[in-house]
Amino acid sequence: MNEHSLLPRLRDQLHSGRMDRREFIRFATLLGVAAGTAYAMAGMSAPAMASSTLPFPAAEPGAKRGGKLRVGEMVARMEDPATYNWNEMANQTRPILEYLTLVGPDNVVRPMLIESWKPSADLKTWTLQVRSGVMWHNGEELTAEHVAWNIRRWSDPALGSSNLGLSTFAALTEYTGDRDSKGRAVRRPLKNGVEVQDSRTVRLNLAKPVLSVAEDCGEFCTLVVHPSFKPPLSHNPIGTGPYTLVELRVGDRCILKRITKTTDGRDFHYWGGDVFLDEIHFHHYEQENQTAALASGSVDAIYELPVEQIELARSIPGAQILSVETAQTLCCRMQVDVKPFNDIRVRRAVVKAADNGAIKKLVFGEHGSVAANFHVAPIHPEYFPLPLQVRDVAGARQLLKEAGYENGIDLNIVVGNNDGPWQQAACEALRDQVKEAGINLAVTVVPATKFWEIWTKVPFGATSWAHRPLGTMALSQAYRTGASWNESHFSDPEFDKALSEAEATIDVPTRKARMQKVETILRDAAVVIQPMWRPVFILASARVHGYKAHPARQMQLTKVWMS
C-alpha cells in the first residue's frame, strides 16, 4: 500500500512523544491507514475487530443468534436520509442503509462502504476506494457510480440537507456570485467535484483543503441510498444493510427484519459478516418515558437515559447504564451586531459573571467536563488547553458601568430544550449567577420545534451543538464569517484566517499551536458562555450485548445480540 507522504512524520511525532497514541491512531486513520494497522503502528493492541477490513467489533464468543431487540425511542418518520433532522430517524435507518465510513463508539473512524480513503498531500484531492462485494437489497452490486451519485446529491444546495454544513460537502460547492431574494450568497455544486475514475474508485476534487472527509462521510445524514431512491424512504427502502423495513407507524412502531432474499428473488448476502438479531423493533416512547418503559420490561434498550433519571435507572435490577464523554455542548451565544451585545463590554460582563464549573456541576454532577467558551473540547485531537477563566463579579459590574449600565441591565435568553430540560436548568443557573453582577436575565423557554424556527434570529439564545469528531468542524460551521449556521454573527477576518490555517495543517503540534490563536480570539471576543461538555448515557437490560454509548448518539445495532 502506498503510504501517505505525511505518515512518516506522524510516526516520528509519535516516537518522539510529541503526539500521544490516541492522537496518532486518529490521524493515521484519517490518512487512510486501516484502524487495525494504526493501532499496531502505535504499539497498542487494537480493540478486537472482526477483521482489519470490517468496521465492526469481533463477535463475542458465545454470541447467540436469533431473537428480537425492542428499543424504546420516539418513532419518527423516514423521509429522506439526507434531510433527517432527528437522530431517531437515523437510528431506525442505520440497520437498513449504511455509511461510507463508520465512526465507532471509540470516536475512531473506519471504512464501511468504502474500503479505504487517500488524501493528496494538500488535502484537496481525496480518492475513495469503493468496497467490493456489497449487495443492494435489489440484488445489484454497489459501484463507484452509486457512491458518486450520493455525494453529488449531498452537495446540492437545493436539497436542503444539513450535510452542506459539513466541510467536505461545502467544499464541493462554489459561490455563483449572485444573491438570493434575502440577500444571501447563492451556491452551486462544483463542476468536476465528484469524479468517477473506474467502477471502484471515486475522486473528490475539493475547493479547499479538508481534513475531515472520512469523518464527514460517517455523519448521521450521510446514509447511502440506491440511485433509484425517491422519498419517502419508508415506501421503498433499498439499502445495503442486513435489515429491511417491515412496518413503520410514526409515533407508534418501526419493525425491522433480517433480509434473506433480494427483491429479485436471490439469496441476500451481507458483506459485513455475522448478524445475530432476527428482528429489531422500535417502540415509541417519549424521551422522559423510556426509562420507565424499560423498568417494566416493555423494552430491552432505550435511546438515551436523561441525566435526571439516573437514580431511577440504578434502581432497576440488572440494568446496564453505559456512558461516554462527548463534544456535545450548550452554547449561550450573543449576537455581536445586536444591541446591547454589540458592545463587547456587555458580553464580557456576562461571561465574567458566569461560573461555568458551577453550572456543569449543578446539571451533570460529577459527569461531563467544564467548557471554557471557545467550542473546542478536550477530546478533540487539536485541543489547546487555555487557562480557565475565573469568575469575577466585581469586574463584570465595572464593565457594565463603563458600558453605561451602572444600574444594571435587563437581558433575555431563549432556550428550546431541544436536547432535554437540562438546557433550561443551565440557563436558570446562569440567570442566578449573573444577577449578582446586576444583570437581570430572563429565561424564555420555547417548545423545541419552535426553537428551530428562531434559533438564528434571537439576540441571546442557548443552542445545543452536536458532537463533532474534530474541533475545527464546529468552529468553521458556527463562527466563520457568513457561515450559514453562524448564529452569533461573529465575524473576524483574523479568526477566519487563523482557522483556515489550522484546518490545513496536519502536523499536530503545529496545528495545536495554531489553535491557540484561534481559541484565544474566540474566547476573548466573549461570544458564547459554554458551560460544559455533556456526557451521554444509555440504558439496556442485562440480556442485551454489544449495545454501546456513542459520542454522537448513533445507535449501531448490526452486531447486537440477546442472551
Binding site: S161, S181, P232, S234, G251, A292, S296, W452
Partner: protein, 316 residues
Amino acid sequence: MGNLIVRRVTQMLLIMLTVSLLLFAIFDSDQFREKAAVAELGGFGVATLSADDYHEWLEKKGLNEPFLARYGRWLESVLHGDMGQSIEKDIAVSVLLKESLTNTGILAFFVFWIMIPVSLTLGVLAGMNTGSPLDRVISIVAVLTTSIPQIATAVLLTVILALGLGWVPTKSAMADGWSFRGLVLPLLTLLLYDIGYLVRMTRAAMTEVMASQYIRTAVLKGLPYRRVILRHALRNALIVPVTLIFLELNGLLSQVVVVEVFFQYAGFGRMLFDAANFGDLQVLQAATLVAVCVAVGSQLLSDAAYVFLNPRVRFT
C-alpha cells in the same frame, strides 16, 4: 323534539364551518410554513437553504397556494368523504382517526361503565343520610380524588402500581397488542377524578331532594322507606347527574389529552396533541370536526334526557 334536532344539527354545521375556516386562517401564515419546513428539514437544514430554494420547497409541498383555494379544495374533498393525508405520519387521516377514536372509545366505554353505577350508588347513599359517618367517608374521599390534578394522580398510580408492585406496565403503548392490563392506569386516573366529581354532584342533588316537602310527606304518609327513595326521590335527584354524565362525554375528550399523552395511549387525545405540536393541519381539522360533533351531540342527548326525566321541561 324533531325541531330541536334540526336546530342543533344546523348549529353544528355552522360551528364546523367557522372553526375549520379559522384553523385554516391561523395556519396560513409564513410562521406556520416555516414550522412545517423545520419539521421536515430541521432547523439546520432550513438555515442552509437559500431563500429561492426554500420557496421552491414550499411550492413542491403545495404550501404556497393561496389560502381560499386550499380551503375550497379541502372542503370539497371532506364533503366527498376524503379527509386528506397526515403529513407527519404519512397515512390517511380517516384511518388515523378511526383507530384513535376506537382506542379512546374503548377507554371511554370502560370509564362510563364503571363510573355511572359506582358514583350514582355512592352519591345516593351519601345524600340519603347526610351527616352520617358513611356520608362523611364518601364525601371526604370524593373531595380528595377531585382535588388532585390528573397528572399527579397519573404519576402516583404509576409509582405505586407499576414501578412498586409491578402489576401493570408503566405505559399504555401496548406494543405487543391490545391488553386490558395496559388500560388499567389511564382508566384509573380518569375514574378517580370523574367518580369523585359525579359522587359530589349526585350527593348534593340527593340531599336537596331528601329535604323537600314531598319526601317528608311521603315518609309521613307511612310509605316504606325503600319505596320513597326509589320511586319519589331518585327520579328528581338524577336530573342533574344524568345531564352531567352526558356533558362528561364531551369533557372526556379534553381530559384524555393529558392522560393519553402521559401514558402514551394511542387515542384521540394523543393524536390531537401530536398534530398540534407538528402543525399537521389536516389531522387537526378532522379532529376539530369530531370534537364539535361530540360536543353538539352530547348536548343534544343531554337535552333529550332532561325532557325525559323532567316532564315540566319542553324544548320547542
